[in-house]
C-alpha cells in the first residue's frame, strides 16, 4: 500500500463516526454556506461606483498606498513623470500591455520587459516595477494581479516601488465579487499565481511596530485611468 492509500484509509476509518456540527446543538446537518452569506456579513460597501471609489480611496490611504485618479492620459503622464523624478528612477521594469506601453513611453527611461525574459539580478536593481492588474477591490483597497496580467510572479514584488495601472471598469466591489470575477475570466485555465496585494509590504515583527517595505515594495502607487 502506498502512503497515499494508507493515509486515505485512516481518514475514511476516522470519518465513520460523525463529529458534532459547530455552534448549533439543535440543528442536524446543514448545507455548506455559499458566498452570498459572505457578502452580507463582510464590511459594508455601497452599491454605486462613487461609493466604491470612495471606499477604495479611503482604504488605500489607510494602507499608505498612493492613489491617483487622473482626468486624462496627459494628466497621468505628468503625474508619472513627477513620480519618476521624485524617485530618481534610472531604470524600471514592466511588461507589454496597452497601459504599460503608454507609461513606458511617457517616462522614457531604460526598462526591462519581463515578458521578454529577464535576469533576476537586473530586475532587483530596477527602481520601480510598473504593471497592469486584473482588478481593484473597493472593500479592502486591494489590487488583484495574476502572473498573466502583471508581468509574471516577481515583477509586482521585487522592485521597491510597485506602480499599478488600472482602468475604471476594473474596480470591483468586494472579495466575493473578486472570486466571481476570477472564475468567470480564468475558470477554464487559472494562472499559476493569483495575488491580492493590500498596500505596500509591511511587518510588525519588531515590538509590533509597523514598518513598511519589509521585503516587497516599500511603495505602492495605484493609478485608476
Amino acid at each position: 500500500m502506498t502512503e497515499r492509500q494508507k493515509i486515505l484509509g485512516r481518514i475514511r476509518e476516522a470519518l465513520a463516526v460523525e463529529a458534532p456540527f459547530p455552534g448549533r446543538h439543535d440543528v442536524s446537518g446543514k448545507p455548506a454556506p455559499t458566498s452570498s452569506l459572505a457578502r452580507d456579513c463582510l464590511p459594508f460597501v455601497g452599491d454605486s461606483v462613487d461609493e466604491q471609489l470612495a471606499a477604495f480611496r479611503q482604504n488605500a490611504a489607510n494602507l499608505q498606498a498612493h492613489f491617483h485618479l487622473p482626468g486624462s492620459r496627459d494628466e497621468f503622464k505628468m503625474q508619472l513623470i513627477g513620480i519618476r523624478d521624485a524617485g530618481g528612477w534610472k531604470k524600471i521594469a514592466t511588461h507589454s500591455g496597452e497601459l504599460t506601453d503608454f507609461a513606458l513611453q511617457s517616462i522614457d527611461i531604460p526598462a526591462i520587459k519581463t515578458d521578454s525574459g529577464y535576469d533576476m539580478e537586473e530586475l532587483e536593481k530596477c527602481d520601480a516595477g510598473i504593471t497592469e492588474c486584473d482588478a481593484l477591490i473597493a472593500q479592502t483597497g486591494s489590487v488583484l494581479v495574476t502572473n498573466r496580467s502583471a508581468g509574471g510572479r516577481a515583477l509586482s514584488v521585487l522592485p521597491s516601488h510597485h506602480v499599478v495601472l488600472a482602468r475604471r471598469g476594473q474596480l470591483l466591489r468586494d472579495l466575493p465579487a473578486a472570486f466571481e470575477f476570477l472564475r468567470r475570466k480564468y475558470g477554464a485555465n487559472y494562472p499559476s499565481m493569483i495575488s491580492f496585494i493590500t498596500g505596500p509590504s509591511r511587518t510588525g515583527d519588531i515590538e509590533r511596530i509597523l514598518v513598511l517595505g519589509a521585503h516587497g515594495p516599500r511603495e505602492l502607487t495605484i493609478f485608476l485611468l
Binding site: 463516526v17 455552534g23 455548506a32 452569506l37 529577464y118 509574471g152 514584488v157 519589509a214
Partner: protein
Amino acid sequence: MSSPVQQFKQAANVVAHDLQHRATIQTALEKYTVIRDQTRGAFRDYAAVRQAAAEIKWEAVNHLDKYLELFVSKLEARGAKVHWAGTGEQACEIILGVVREKKARSIIKSKTMTSEEIHLNEALELEGYEVVESDLGEFIVQLKKETPYHIVFPAMHLTRGEIKDLFNRKLAANTSDNPGELTMVARRVLRKKYINADIGLTGANFAIAETGMISITENEGNARLTAALPKTMITLLGLEKILPRLEDLALFLPMLATSGTGQPLTCYNTMYGGPRQPGEFDGPEELHVVLLDGRRTELLANAEQRDSLHCIRCGACLNVCPIFRNIGGHTYGTTYSGPIGSVITPHLRGLQGWKHLSVSSSLCGACTETCPVKIDLAHHLLQNRRDATAQKPARLWKLGFKFFAFIINRPAIYKLLAPLGRVGQKLHSPLKSTRLDPVYAWTKTREMPQIAPQTFREFWTNRK
C-alpha cells in the same frame, strides 16, 4: 534529562516572575487587541461570519478524503508533484530527497510552523544545506538560535534593543535600534538570498480543493519572493488545511487577518496553482507539495475533538490566553503553544507525556470565545484531562477525591470541618509561608482566607 512536565514547571516558574517579559508581552498584545476590536467592528455581522467559517471547516474536515483527492488531482493535472507523508520523518526524507536531487546549495524558506513541527531545518542542516528563514521574525529567532515564540509573531518576546545587539553581533550590521533600520538590515541581507536560492520552501495557510491551489497569507512579501525566484518550490502542509472552494477564501482571508493580526486583510494573499505553466515566463519550474499526516488522522478519529483540525493557525487563542501571556511561548517546549497547542500536543506527541499542557489552564474560556472557527478549546482541555486520568490515574489524587466525596456527602462529618478548621488555623499560623507549611503552594504568594466566625450553615441552623 528532565521530562517535559518538569521542564515546563521550571520554565514557567522563571518566566512567570520575569516582569520585563510580562511588560513586553502586555504591550504587544494591547496593540493587537485594539486593532482587532476595531476590525471586528467593521464586519456587518461578525458572529455570523464565525459560524459560517466554522461550518465550512466542518464540511472540509468531515469530508477530508474527498476534498484531499480533488485537491491532489487538480494539482497533479497542472504538473505539480504531490507527496504523501505519514510521519514527520517521512516528510523530512521526501524534502531531503528533492533537495539532494536538485543538488541545491541554498534554500530560502518562508514561514511554516509545520516545518518546525517536523524539525525540517535541523534535518537539512545536518546534511550540510544552508536554510535561510526569510520572514523577519523567523530570521531573527534563527539568528538567535531559538524556536519561534509565537506561531504568528516569532520574535514577540524580543525588544528592539535585543534585536539591535543580535544584528550587530551576528551580521556586523552597525545599526541603531530603530525598528525601520533593523528591518532594512534584514531586507538587504535577504535580497541576495532570494536571488541565489535554488529552492524555495513554503508552507500553506489553506489548500483549495476545487481548483488545486495553495493559498499563502503574509505581510512582508517574502513568501511571494520565495515562490517566484528559485527554480524549485517545495510546499509543506498539514492535510487538514483543506478548504472546499476558492470562494471560501472571501471569508477566510479576512477572518485570518482579523484574528491573526487585527488587520482587515493581510498584505499579500496569494494562490498558487502549480509550477510555471506553458506560456508563463517565470516562476518555479517544479512544484513539490508535501502533505503531512503526522498523527492528524488520529485527531480526526477522535470525533469529540475533531474540530481542533479546523484550526487556521491564526494565533488568536494565544493572544487572549492569560497562561500564554504569563509563561511565554517557549515554556511550552513544543511547536504549537497556547490553547491550541495545549489541546493538540497530547494527541500529536503522547497523552501521558504532554497532558500537563492541558492541565495547566484555569479554563477561563477566552480561547473558545475568540476562536474564529469556533473550536471548543477549553472543553477539549477538560476532555484531555478526563482521558489522561482514565488511561493512567494518579492513585493519590483518585483516592483523595474519593475521600473528599466521602466527607462531603456526610453532613455529620462535614459539620466538623468548621470547628476543626478554626483550630487548624491557629496551629497553621506560625508555619504559614514557611517551607513546613502544608499549603505552601497557596501561601507562598497569597494570604490565606480565614474560616468565618459563623458559617452559613451555623447561621441557618440558628435562625430556625
